[in-house]
């Protein structure tokens, strides 16, 4: 009976298997009604119309029309916050494919997917924020500003997004069952990984370098000729923390989509990543101190901005550094996972501090983002969480596809 149905309706059975998680459509729809989904639907119901009104009413509808703070939450939180957390892909891919840490293989796809969606999310924020969104390809095809660091950023984001897509392609083709395309995609692995590391190095640091042009506006404790290095190094510990965090969430939420290879080895891998994150955090702390020393800004440390800087440095850099070290030493995976939250918050806080909270520190008045910005940021993040869930539920991300076990 079932066989007959499959033969009679190939498209329907394909959709059932690939899209509806093996359920008939009505059953699938019913399975979607969960408290989490209702909560998410509420966010989208408010956020999506607001998003489109931005194109009818202008940016003034969703953000403060400020020329002192031309970049609001979309750029400072959406773009600058998400990009270091998307360093996951290049870190894991280079660890496994270039540096030969093969035991981390079960995490590569998850890391690449997180990175890919993170970058796609960043592009969505750029698309929302810039005045003429449809001109986004201009710096690539029509009008070049090669003297601009933002020109580099634009190229690197575009190239890296494509590279990460290629890196994730094997999983997509395994899901679609296309053997030949899967093999083609696998050929590119090493090349794409190397290309990805180059692009990430330049692009993570270039995002910091954007602020080199604003020595009077970025607070001296955050401004330094080393900003590009700070951004790059912090992206490494941020990316590692993000993998610890995301893989932890996956063991809670997507346990049924993960295989033993993923679940059994994860504790050991978390310890290894925690150790690496701890060392990177310590190096980062050290170069940040060098930054203060280089500018001779010691006296600023006891101003109100200075206390805020110290909170960031001790609470969100040195503390997670220490906790990661403790967790790795005593193999306390739970501590490592909780610490990863502190580090993830820490890197976002750093980006917000530099670009928004202490920005224009010497102007008499301060401006805070409009409430609509928070809603749209939440909406875009939500859309990408849903995309992530959709892909992890269907594609072999946390597990090896039975047909290709041990092959890639």
């Amino acid at each position: 009976m079932t066989n007959k149905t499959i033969e009679a309706y190939p498209l329907r059975s394909w959709m059932r298997e690939k899209l509806f998680l093996g359920m008939p459509f009505d059953e699938y729809l019913k399975s979607l009604i969960t408290p989490f989904n209702i909560f998410v639907a509420c966010i989208l119901l408010v956020g999506i119309p607001m998003y489109f009104l931005r194109y009818l009413q202008g940016l003034i509808f969703v953000m403060h029309p400020s020329n002192e703070y031309p970049w609001g939450l979309f750029i400072c939180l959406g773009l600058l916050g998400i990009v270091p957390l998307s360093a996951t892909g290049f870190i894991m891919a280079s660890a496994v494919y270039l540096f030969g840490l093969k035991e981390y293989k079960p995490l590569v796809r998850l890391a690449v997917l997180t990175g890919f969606l993170g970058y796609a999310c960043a592009v969505a924020f750029i698309f929302t924020d810039i005045g003429r969104s449809w001109r986004l390809p201009y710096p690539m095809i029509l009008s070049f500003g090669p003297q601009s660091i933002l020109f580099l950023v634009a190229w690197h984001v575009a190239l890296y997004l494509s590279t990460q897509f290629v890196e994730f392609c094997p999983a997509i083709f395994e899901w679609l069952g296309s053997d030949r395309f899967r093999r083609w995609a696998l050929y590119t692995t090493i090349g794409a990984t190397i290309f990805g590391v180059i692009l990430s190095t330049l692009h993570q640091s270039a995002l910091g370098a954007l602020f080199l042009l604003m020595p009077g506006k970025v607070h001296p404790l955050w401004y330094s000729p080393y900003i590009p290095v700070f951004f790059f190094v912090s992206s490494i510990w941020a990316g590692l923390s993000m993998i610890i965090l995301v893989s932890w969430i996956c063991t809670k939420v997507f346990r049924d989509k993960a295989d033993d290879g993923f679940l059994n080895g994860l504790d050991n891998l978390t310890v290894g990543m925690g150790r690496a994150a701890s060392i990177t955090l310590f190096a980062y702390f050290a170069i940040k101190i060098i930054g203060v020393a280089h500018g001779y800004h010691w006296n600023l440390l006891t101003t109100s901005y200075g206390y805020w800087f110290q909170l960031e440095m001790f609470g969100f850099v040195l503390l997670p550094c220490f906790l990661f070290a403790q967790g790795a030493r005593y193999r306390n995976v739970r501590l490592l996972r909780i610490t990863s939250i502190i580090a993830v918050v820490g890197v976002v806080l750093n980006r917000l501090n530099l670009s928004l909270i202490t920005f224009n520190w010497n102007l008499p008045h301060r401006e805070f983002p409009k409430w609509t910005e928070y809603i749209i940021v939440l909406t875009i993040f939500t859309v990408f969480v849903l995309l992530f869930r959709w892909m992890v539920n269907r594609m072999p991300v946390l597990r090896e596809h039975p047909q290709y076990k041990g092959m890639h």
């Binding site: 020329n67 005045g131 634009a154 090349g191 042009l213």
Partner: protein, 314 residues
């Protein structure tokens, strides 16, 4: 034994091929990146005959004729408060999309009855931060001295606004589809290109502003300060600020008391980005070489492990 040698041979071959690959990849990438980086590293010293404007703040009476002339020549809409209304001075104003040169009033510590009026507009830097920031090259410093803007390529990223040390460019947030960055363009097409003074300079009844070649203006300003050292502060704002600007001011009152941004670096702003831009080609060339090296290293290690295991079996 023979087996082992064969294995060694293969390793060398892989290494050579890998090396060629690395070289090709490096060459390809560096060719591709040429446009990215090299252009930004050149230093711009400025066209020698560029124009400028010198504003003598001791002369301005706050009549706002310049503001009216600016709106007229640039086809900007009439403001809600008419130009002859002095009430606008109650609050400080900054350049806005429809008001490119607001005049502000400051109290004069030397003479309470004679306030100082300061006209603000784009400073027309010799090496503009906005031009260094723009990823589509919409801003250009012309040989005549004006910093002009090409709205046809602008994508609206507002990096120029973030980068400008003088807080000048303003953005059309209210326009949903065609927002532009607006700022004074020194009446480039209509006036300065032909060697004529900008509309605001012409409109001024008090001759507050002098339009001439920038190098002559600096001489003039120094002469004025030298002749009346009691009247002027010994500083030409714009001579060195941001590496030198085409618009300059002399004043009877210290500039920091008149809302001027006095912590502007004397280094031209594009200079701050140059170090990073020149590091980019290094990464593009060295990273592939290093990474391919690491890859070959780790894969040859794996091969050795495999062989050792095979030998153990034998």
């Amino acid at each position: 034994m023979g087996k082992k040698e064969e294995g060694k041979d293969r390793r060398i071959k892989i290494t050579r091929r890998g090396f060629l690959k690395a070289t090709a990849a490096t060459g390809g990438i560096s060719l591709f990146s040429k446009a990215n980086s090299v252009v930004g590293v050149e230093k711009f010293t400025g066209a020698p005959d560029r124009y400028g404007v010198l504003t003598d703040l001791s002369l301005c009476v706050g009549c706002r004729s310049c503001e009216a002339a600016c709106n007229e020549i640039n086809n900007l809409p009439q403001p809600k408060v008419p130009f002859d209304d002095q009430s606008v001075f109650e609050e400080g104003r900054r350049p806005e999309p429809n008001s490119w040169t607001p005049v502000n009033r400051f109290s004069n510590p030397q003479d309470k009855n004679k306030p100082i009026f300061v006209k603000r507009q784009c400073m027309h830097c010799d090496e503009p931060a906005c031009a260094a920031a723009c990823l589509v090259g919409a801003f250009k410093k012309t040989p005549e001295g004006a910093v002009i803007y090409n709205e046809d390529v602008c994508i609206g990223c507002r990096y120029c606004i973030a980068a400008c040390p003088f807080y000048v460019p303003a953005y059309d947030y209210a326009s949903p589809l065609y927002p532009k960055v607006r700022k004074c363009i020194l009446c480039y097409e209509k006036k300065v290109k032909k060697g004529e003074p900008p509309a605001c300079v012409e409109a001024c009844p008090m001759e507050v502003m002098t339009f001439a070649k920038r190098k002559d203006l600096i001489k003039l300003a120094h002469k004025k300060i030298l002749e009346k050292p009691d009247k002027y502060v010994d500083h030409i704002y714009g001579e060195h600020e941001a590496g030198g600007t085409s618009w300059m001011y002399i004043s009877p009152v210290p500039f920091e008391k008149l809302g001027f941004i006095t912590d502007v670096s004397t280094t031209p702003y594009p200079e701050f980005a140059r170090g990073f831009l020149s590091a980019v080609p290094m990464v593009l060339i060295l990273w592939p070489a290093l990474l391919i090296g690491f890859y070959m290293w780790s894969s040859s290690r794996e091969e050795i492990f495999k062989e050792e295991r095979r030998d153990d079996h034998d």
